[in-house]
């Protein structure tokens, strides 16, 4: 660099001279406070003092789709607690006069006058060529729906006898919003009851695989070495097995003499046994990366014992990630149960799940004649989408500092 004699350049009021012109010496005259970068506004202070949970909640809230999915799922899960009350009919009630009845439309106006929600009565004729039952609306029968009413009797949670419903058909009338099946049972009620099994099987299965995944993945990540190597290879083998035949083989092991409720738990364990691999990998990789963080080393150098390091530093670090990945694993469980039951290897009647309901729609002519038997697919699709969206939002929110 050549040293040029000091010369004073013109002081200018703008840091930007005319195009190509030499640059003068610009000095800002605006007030200057060296602490202004460290000063914070009221809102920033609020953010800065927020705990991790609160930050996660703020971030999750901004993911609209995830938020609505979470609300939807919350509504569904609170519904299964009181599904006897929500469903218009008992799970097992057979309406022998209305076999394979199509869905009834809910009307508000009869002949131009308002009567509130009601359905028309039905008349059934047997088509003697196809032997198919044909139902027609009887416009003279206006059956007003009742709300918060006494209707089909049931035992709440299988214990308390009651007959209180959110909605019931008119006295002596019927209300099949989604039609009936081959025994004349209300499809809507069965879907609502089926949610109880289908939604919980995912939770129990994930809880089971969560424990397996955290323990196995945690040991592999923390100890490393041979154990890690073996676990990794086992995971690879498990993940390369085709899942449906394996489920079928495992389900076939369960004796036919088991009661349906034992089978229900058996199925969750089978699903959990095969699903922990993904979680174990997530735990292991997260642990490996957290172990390298300086604050973990700092705790070690302070003399902290391993239990403290795991409990205070590692677990809080990856728990949020785990919950997010577990959420994404639930749909797989629900689908697994549905698939197994559909194949006739999972749950058995009288337990009712969405998969069981779909077994009714196994043959092509059933679908051709009674398409409403496919309605249980809709809640399956909605729930799976909702879980995926919510898991997405949770995963984004899991690391609020990024």
């Amino acid at each position: 660099m050549t040293t040029s004699p000091p010369m004073t350049t013109e002081a200018t009021t703008s840091p930007l001279p005319a195009p190509g012109a030499p640059l003068g010496h610009f000095v800002s005259t605006a007030p200057f406070d060296p602490l202004s970068v460290e000063a914070m506004t009221e809102e920033q202070a609020k953010v800065y003092q927020a705990s991790q949970l609160r930050l996660m909640w703020w971030k999750f809230k901004r993911h609209r789709l995830a938020l609505w999915s979470a609300i939807f799922l919350a509504a569904l899960y609170s519904m299964i607690v009181i599904c006897e009350f929500v469903a218009p009919y008992n799970l097992h009630t057979r309406n022998v006069d209305f076999i394979h009845a199509p869905p009834q439309r809910v009307h508000l106006f009869d002949n131009g006058s308002f009567v509130g929600p009601f359905v028309y009565g039905r008349t059934m004729t047997l088509d003697m060529d196809t032997l198919k039952r044909v139902y027609a609306d009887d416009r003279t029968q206006v059956q007003r729906l009742r709300f918060f009413c006494s209707g089909d009797p049931y035992k709440f949670w299988g214990v308390v006898p009651a007959s209180f419903h959110f909605v019931c058909p008119a006295e002596g009338g019927q209300f099949f919003a989604l039609g009936t099946d081959r025994l004349g049972r209300d499809v809507l009620s069965r879907i609502i009851y089926g949610a109880r099994i289908s939604l919980t099987i995912g939770l129990i299965g994930v809880a089971f695989s969560f424990v397996l995944g955290v323990v196995i993945g945690g040991l592999a990540g923390y100890h490393g070495g041979v154990f890690d190597l073996v676990v990794q290879r086992v995971i690879e083998v498990l993940q390369s097995l085709p899942s449906i035949p394996l489920w079928m083989a495992l389900a076939a092991i369960m004796p036919v003499t088991w009661s349906p409720i034992v089978i229900y738990f058996g199925i969750t364990i089978i699903l959990g046994l095969l699903d922990w691999t993904g979680l174990a990998r997530a735990v292991r990789s997260k642990l490996l990366s957290l172990r390298e963080e300086d604050y973990v080393l700092a705790a070690q150098l302070m003399g902290a014992r391993p239990a403290r390091i795991i409990g205070r530093h590692l677990v809080p670090g990856f728990m949020s990630h785990l919950i997010a990945s577990a959420t994404i694993a639930i749909p797989g469980m629900i689908l697994g149960e549905t698939a197994l039951s559909f194949l006739g290897l999972g749950l058995r009647p009288p337990i009712t799940s969405w998969g069981i309901l779909l077994t009714e729609a196994r043959s092509v002519n059933v679908i051709a004649f009674y398409p409403w038997l496919l309605y249980p697919m809709i809640p399956v699709i909605l729930v799976i989408l909702a879980f995926n969206f919510m898991g997405d939002g949770l995963r984004d929110a899991a690391d609020p500092y990024r």
């Binding site: 460290e38 080393l297 070690q300």
Partner: protein
């Protein structure tokens, strides 16, 4: 001083009234406010500021790679000298064809972190020639020829060999050269260099700066240099723009800025850089100084006891002897060496740390200085050697301590980490973080711990309001102060500071250094201060040990080392520190191409040729040791 700029009438890049804000939780953040400046064709404009001042955001705006959440006002005019066309980059559709035609072809960018900005899955040649494949229709042979030419230009000794190598086979300096080759392959009119040397050692930094300067004038290319280091600016820039908190504070030619600084911010930045001309006892002027109030800390009986007992005891607090630590790298079959090769990270190192002093440990990355700190902290076990710690409770064999004895040692030696972000758990409040060591060692009850934490916070210049905040709400300097408070919680006798300021801005660096100095004198602490920056060590240390390739090559009192450095490695480290002073430019010619640690460039008396004449520390008197051949006469060395 560089080749005359092409006689273009206009500016190459003209940024007018640029404003960028981000919508985030807690209200919008105005990253850039009404900034205007220009880059002349064939000239270097430096954009200087602290981190968070908005300088990187401006570079992103120029490349059109701002995040989606950014809102932009103003204009960025790019005048392409090739076509004579002027485009407003902000008006181009995001990721559209027009902006993609500019990126990589007319505007190149190099990033700060050479370790992560190259793909580990592609060969160097493959990554570099991608730009040509996208922006030209040359055939494969021509593309390769151009790539090889560029690799040669950026200083790869054997371009053909480098072409087929993977990024992990290259050192940091070579990777940065590869990045530069990638950015320059299409001969852009403008190169944006975003902190191009911040992650590199000083000696490598000097080489890269030399290369950038050289290529810039040879290719007649303009450069927008973004940095926080005024020393770099003084050596490379033609025009300087100083930015603070998104606003331009001062702008002018490099002469104006360095000879006649006006704005208090610029003056503050300049005063905060440690330099070799400082008188003993002279203090750096930090832009935001932190008053140290150790009052309540000193009153604790523990501190008093330590201070009282410490004086009459032996002078040496810690003495390390013959430390050796080697790592085995698995030889790769691909390159014909299929066996394990041990690499000596620490090779026969011995030193004493005297009570109450600050021993500086200097060297480039990979020289083994961090391994030494880990050995002292008992995080790494050496292959052989001994470390004796003469604490207040008598001497302890550090390497043999186990169980409760080891836990007791842990309270006496504490560490300050380099990275203020990863060294504090993001899920704990400041109160929990600072009181954790007290909890681990069962000191006091909840009430007395809280008092202690409050006293520590006061000592590092924070107040009680910080107690319930989480680390993410603090700036880098504040976090580093919290890390220091945590290290002080147990009342240690020895504090190991492993590059405590290298992740911080100069302005914050001065603040932390002053804080450490004040704490040392108030609390009677002993420091082992590790850094790659000689100027920083010079400011802090009483004695300095220089490490190279696992060995201490020179150890001397601070003034002696600065005035009469003997070892060639020390000399090249000293020569590579850039000054924010136009009259003391880096002497690029004396910098060795192969790096300062290349033994072949050293005088024969410092080389180990494996002929049995081993290297041994030679005492030059006055505590000045230098690693040289046993047979060499002392007078030959000085």
């Amino acid at each position: 001083m560089n080749a005359a700029a092409k006689s273009s009438s206009g500016d190459l890049l003209r940024i007018e009234n640029l404003g960028i804000s981000f919508a985030i939780v807690g209200g919008p953040v105005h990253a850039v406010r009404n900034a205007s400046f220009r880059v002349l064709p064939g000239k270097v404009t430096a954009l200087v500021g602290e981190s968070g001042s908005g300088k990187s955001v401006i570079s992103q705006a120029v490349m059109g790679i701002l995040p989606n959440t950014a809102r932009v006002r103003g204009s960025i005019l790019f005048d392409d000298p090739l076509t004579g066309k002027s485009t407003d980059i902000l008006q181009l559709p995001r990721d559209g064809e027009d902006i993609r035609a500019l990126r990589g072809s007319r505007i190149g960018k190099i990033f700060q972190e050479p370790m992560t900005s190259l793909s580990p899955l592609h060969t160097i040649g493959n990554q570099i020639d991608e730009a040509l494949k996208i922006h030209s229709d040359l055939d494969a042979a021509e593309v390769k020829a151009r790539t090889l030419e560029m690799l040669g230009l950026v200083g790869f000794p054997n371009p053909a060999r480098a072409y087929g190598m993977y990024s992990f086979e290259l050192s940091g300096g070579l990777r940065q050269r590869a990045m530069i080759a990638m950015a320059l392959l299409c001969r852009p009119a403008l190169l944006i260099a975003d902190e191009p040397t911040t992650a590199l050692d000083v000696t490598i930094q000097a080489q890269i700066l030399h290369l950038l300067r050289d290529l810039q004038s040879r290719l007649n290319m303009a450069m927008l240099l973004i940095t926080h280091d005024l020393g770099v600016v003084a050596n490379v820039a033609d025009e300087v723009v100083v930015i603070y908190h998104g606003e331009i504070m001062e702008a002018g030619t490099v002469e104006d800025i360095f000879r006649r600084p006006q704005h208090p911010y610029l003056k503050g930045l300049m005063a905060a850089v440690p330099h070799f001309d400082m008188k003993p006892g002279e203090r750096l002027k930090a832009l935001r100084d932190v008053p140290v109030k150790v009052g309540t800390l000193l009153d604790s009986p523990k501190a008093k006891a330590t201070a009282a007992v410490a004086q009459p005891r032996s002078d040496v607090l810690l003495s390390a002897r013959d430390l050796v630590k080697s790592y085995t790298t698995r030889g790769s079959g691909w390159f014909g060496k299929g066996r394990d090769r041990p690499v000596k990270a620490v090779d026969d190192v011995g030193f004493d740390i005297r009570r109450g002093e600050c021993l500086g440990l200097v060297g480039e990355s990979g020289c083994g200085k961090t391994t030494i700190s880990k050995i002292l902290m008992r995080a790494v076990r050496p292959d052989s050697g001994s470390v004796v710690f003469n604490g207040a409770d008598g001497p302890i064999d550090l390497l043999a301590a186990e169980g409760e004895a080891l836990r007791a040692v842990r309270t006496k030696i504490q560490m300050v980490f380099q990275d203020p972000v990863s060294s504090l758990s993001p899920r704990m409040t400041v109160q929990n973080i600072i009181s954790e060591p007290l909890e681990i060692h069962d000191r006091g009850d909840a009430q007395s711990r809280l008092q202690k934490v409050t006293a520590l916070l006061k000592a590092i210049g924070l107040d009680e309001r910080a107690l319930n905040r989480y680390p993410h709400s603090f700036s880098g300097g504040q976090r580093q102060r919290i890390g220091i408070a945590r290290a002080l919680a147990l009342g240690p006798e020895l504090l190991i500071c492993d590059e405590p300021v290298s992740a911080l801005d100069v302005s914050v660096q001065a603040q932390i250094l002053n804080l450490l100095k004040d704490l040392q004198s108030e609390l009677g602490l002993t420091y082992l201060f590790i850094s790659h920056n000689l100027a920083v060590v010079d400011y802090m240390a009483d004695r300095i040990a220089v490490m190279c390739a696992g060995r201490i090559v020179e150890l001397a009192p601070c003034e002696t080392l600065m005035e009469r450095p003997v070892h060639p490695y020390t000399r090249s480290l000293l020569a590579a520190v850039p000054f924010p002073d136009l009259d003391r430019p880096l002497d690029f010619d004396t910098l060795h191409a192969a790096g300062a640690s290349d033994q072949n460039a050293w005088a024969p008396q410092f080389r180990n040729d494996g002929d049995g004449d081993a290297l041994t520390p030679t005492d030059l008197g006055g505590g000045h040791l230098v690693l040289a051949r046993r047979s060499v006469d002392k007078r030959e060395l000085v």
